[in-house]
């Protein structure tokens, strides 16, 4: 659906920074049903890229393809290529476990482990054999997730006692503790109240200094607020991809305009 000239224009914008993900002709099917069709995207490093689109358009499926979480859906199969810093994530000798260590994920609903706050953050580094001081790693991760001050006196309390917003920041801290290069966020605020949502959005601005963030959201204001680039998906196809400001103010596709102005979806 994207013309060549458009694609070139996008490349020009994107290439000011290093491309961290390059997808080419990615098609994902559940059984026979295609969920993602022929998606080509270049996602720039150290920026926030939002994926928007009506529900059921395949946003989450695309996001989960970046850290091979679709491996757990038995009937899902993928065609095409996803390059992560130039390496194809889906060739045979790539270990999905290693992929996920470098590409973190935050889920739609906060899903802390039913363990202590400390164990939640420490578990990832511990199982991957982190050799350094784990206490420091936990503290720095919680600080970066802007949660440290709230929980420093009760690290041994159960994580499930935290509020929803705190739980989601804990999940972000847990992902940060792995020192990933990318954080994938799957509608991270959809289960949160506006105040918690604002805190997480602030947090994303701080995090993009160090990390690349890809966020799936059904909330267009959120996409407009936080992201630098926006991809609009409809029925599994990429309709438009470009700088957020442009996608929202001067979209090239009629469909995009209809969606961002709230006429459908």
């Amino acid at each position: 659906m994207i013309t060549n000239t458009q694609r070139q224009a996008i490349s020009n914008q994107v290439s000011k920074r290093r491309t961290i993900f390059q997808t080419s002709n990615v098609t994902i099917r559940y059984g026979d049903k295609p969920a993602i069709r022929n998606v080509c995207l270049s996602i720039p490093e150290h920026l926030i890229t939002a994926i928007i689109g009506p529900s059921g358009c395949g946003k989450s499926t695309l996001l989960r393809a970046f850290n091979r979480m679709n491996d757990f859906i038995p009937e899902a199969n993928m065609k095409g290529q996803i390059l992560f810093l130039g390496t194809d994530l889906y060739v045979k000798d790539i270990d999905p476990v290693d992929v996920r260590r470098r590409i973190g994920m935050v889920f739609q609903k906060p899903n802390p482990f039913p363990k202590s706050i400390f164990r939640n953050v420490a578990w990832g580094p511990i199982v991957s054999g982190y050799p350094g001081n784990i206490n420091e790693r936990v503290e720095s991760s919680l600080r970066r997730a802007a949660l440290w001050d709230e929980v420093k006196d009760r690290l041994q309390d159960s994580a499930t006692d935290l509020s929803g917003g705190q739980q989601q920041r804990l999940c972000i801290a847990r992902a940060l503790a792995m020192e990933p290069e990318v954080i994938l966020m799957d509608e991270p605020c959809s289960a949160l109240d506006p105040v918690s949502t604002a805190r997480i959005e602030d947090l994303m601005f701080e995090l993009k200094e160090k990390y690349t963030i890809i966020i799936v959201t059904h909330n267009m204001q959120q996409a407009a607020r936080v992201s630098d680039f926006t991809a609009f998906l409809d029925s599994g196809s990429l309709v438009e991809f470009g700088q957020t400001e442009k996608v929202f103010t001067r979209p090239e596709q009629k469909r995009t305009e209809e969606y961002v102005t709230g006429r459908f979806g």
């Binding site: 490349s11 491309t19 992560f84 130039g86």
Partner: protein, 317 residues
């Protein structure tokens, strides 16, 4: 220009990046080993099934070389331990059926009625009393039921029916009925609960009484689940051993009189095993022939019931 640069970069990834993601991690053999170990544990169940079939067949086949198969399944006289020997299994089957029929008379109506009561009428508090009681009933060992039949039910029957023998099918079948009652109740409960509430509410909205909703809407909708639970309970009653050994007697007989002493397939197997029949003799082989028959019957019923249950569950999923 810029675009070219991008393409170039894609083709030639920086070395350090490629190394970091390229290699499989070394713990993979360990993961594989764990998976293989877990698989073996699951596969043990298949080995068990094969072992059961092999063990039964290995002794049952030689038995049928000595005793014609037709004599076994159609013969009406079972005297393998006495001269003249006769190997007609029908008296044992008849005894077993008598027990199953009696147990069904007890367990099916009470079990189904309890399930209806629990699902449609009882308050949460009542449920919280009756459910554990049923669980306890289900957990009482069969030998206890045998004792109960022998020392309580039989004397009780004798006061009403003086012709009751010390060992009789009726008392054994009553306690077997009590024994499988919790199973019927809980499986029927599951079946009734699977019926969506919208169906009930639709019927209520048409002005039906609770009785009409239950018997004309809920029961028909859950019928296959209910029937499957009956079949499972019957299969359980067929395999029941200790209560019938203790209370029903040891006289294989073609009778439909529940007050007489009979013998079931399972009780016969116990009788022979208590009697120390030497391996290799025909007496010894009979238990394998009888057990093979028992296994085939119960397995067939279970397979059918599970299949029906699965289809039933799929309807409401």
């Amino acid at each position: 220009m810029l675009k070219n640069k991008l393409v170039q970069k894609r083709r030639q990834p920086e070395k350090s990046e490629a190394i970091a993601l390229g290699a499989k991690l070394k713990y993979h053999w360990k993961e594989g080993l764990i998976k293989a170990g877990l698989f073996l544990c699951a596969f043990l169940s298949v080995v068990t099934t094969i072992a059961i079939i092999t063990v039964l067949a290995r002794e049952a086949f030689p038995f049928f070389r000595e005793v014609p198969f037709l004599d076994f399944v159609a013969g009406t006289k079972w005297t393998p331990l006495l001269q003249p020997r006769s190997f007609g299994v029908l008296p044992l089957v008849c005894g077993t059926l008598l027990i199953v029929a009696g147990a069904a008379l007890v367990a099916l109506p009470i079990g189904l009625a309890s399930a209806i009561y629990l699902g449609e009428y009882a308050s949460r508090r009542v449920r919280s009393i009756i459910k554990p009681v049923l669980e306890i009933l289900a957990g009482i060992p069969t030998v206890v039921y045998g004792y109960f039949a022998l020392t309580f039910v039989t004397p009780l029957l004798a006061t009403f029916f003086p012709s009751t023998q010390v060992f009789n099918a009726a008392s054994a079948s009553i306690v077997v009925g009590i024994m499988v009652l919790p199973m019927v109740a809980s499986l029927c409960d599951d079946a009734l609960r699977a019926v969506p509430d919208s169906l009930r509410q639709g019927a209520y909205a048409l002005g039906a009484t609770q009785f009409e909703v239950t018997t004309r809407v809920v029961l028909p909708a859950s019928l296959s689940g209910v029937v499957a639970s009956f079949v499972l309970a019957a299969s359980r009653a067929i395999g029941e051993t200790m209560a019938v050994t203790l209370a029903a007697g040891a006289t294989p007989k073609m009778t439909l009189n529940p007050l007489e002493s009979i013998q079931t397939m399972t009780a016969y197997i116990v009788q022979v095993s208590l009697g120390d029949a030497p391996a290799g003799t025909v007496e010894y082989k009979t238990i394998f022939a009888v057990a093979a028959l028992l296994f085939a019957i119960t397995l067939g019923m279970n397979i059918v019931a599970h299949k029906v249950l699965r289809q039933f569950q799929e309807v409401y999923e």
